[in-house]
Symmetry: C2
Subunit: 191 residues, 2 copies
Amino acid sequence: MATKPSSYENIVNTAARLFIVQGYHATGLNQIISESGSPKGSLYYYFPNGKEELALECIKRANLFVQDQLRDSFAPIADPVLAVQSLLRRLAEEAADCKYKEPMPIGYWASAETAAVSEALRMASQTAFEDWQNIYAEKLLAAGFNKSKAAELGLLLVSMIEGAMLLMITLRDNKPLLTLSAHIPVLLRKE
Amino acid sequence: MATKPSSYENIVNTAARLFIVQGYHATGLNQIISESGSPKGSLYYYFPNGKEELALECIKRANLFVQDQLRDSFAPIADPVLAVQSLLRRLAEEAADCKYKEPMPIGYWASAETAAVSEALRMASQTAFEDWQNIYAEKLLAAGFNKSKAAELGLLLVSMIEGAMLLMITLRDNKPLLTLSAHIPVLLRKE
DNA sequence: GTCTATACATGGATAGAC
DNA sequence: GTCTATCCATGTATAGAC
């Protein structure tokens, strides 16, 4: 499904970056084409439906990017508690490195900001959240949790991490994410 | 600090509603004045610095509104676990009632969306989060938690609830909030 | 203090040359 | 397929009559 021309890639990459940093409505097509170097004609050649279609592609990519991130963090660590903590520490470090300028999660610009205006974008975010939930759930399933408990905790993890990221961006401090990390053992206790 | 004229109130009330439903950048001043009935001149009379100043007032009000909501929910219930659960159920019901059309928390439109563009709005959101954290912490302190533990759990509660609300809006389902509620006893265990 | 008209920039989108 | 010029709506902001 990958398209080769570099013009396409340039547009998608800069659009994704700008949406993440500034938000959906704050990012104009003019800025995207200006920063990408590609002309506006190319944008509408690749995305005949304009901004919404471009954003949809960005959400799908962000979804896959996070999935890779999750699998990378989880693969080498069997214990789900340690695996999740390793992920959270990684996210906290990355956020501090970019000085909290990049609200990585798609939740804010793609779903909160567009839920009222574009059903397609909202649904793409929903799919992403469900995909991530499933990855968490699989990890918990493999560790001996039953299916419904694993699904429930997966949902909880997705929502808690999104919330911690929002506070992290607002407070410009990764303490929310690290505090969450500290409480993961209690949350994922099999009891 | 309350200003009397109804024109002022009309503008602030409709602006607050539109920011909450649509987001900051998606809401234009033209729409605000059109829906409020008041003319544009009044808006700039009361808010000489335009949109940003108006949004700032909306954030401050939203902050106070949530504070009242928290105190109302907490006052009649001594046990912090039951008090928080009562709050979460109330939020879940309200969200379902408006069919998930109103992302009440200020976090999305006021901080995620504006952190890159307005330091004043980001700081107002930060203040709100800190105020709420303190209310949670006081409740926990009164229940016997020590000061640092109470502050830590207060931060965690704010971030978890914001995250659950984001998922609730995206999935159009209050399960994330109810799932969080189910795990409050584990989180707030004094152990 | 209230309201209208208008200015100027930027938004998304399109047509058509090359 | 690439690029430019342009259209129209909407954005924020201001001037000035009443």
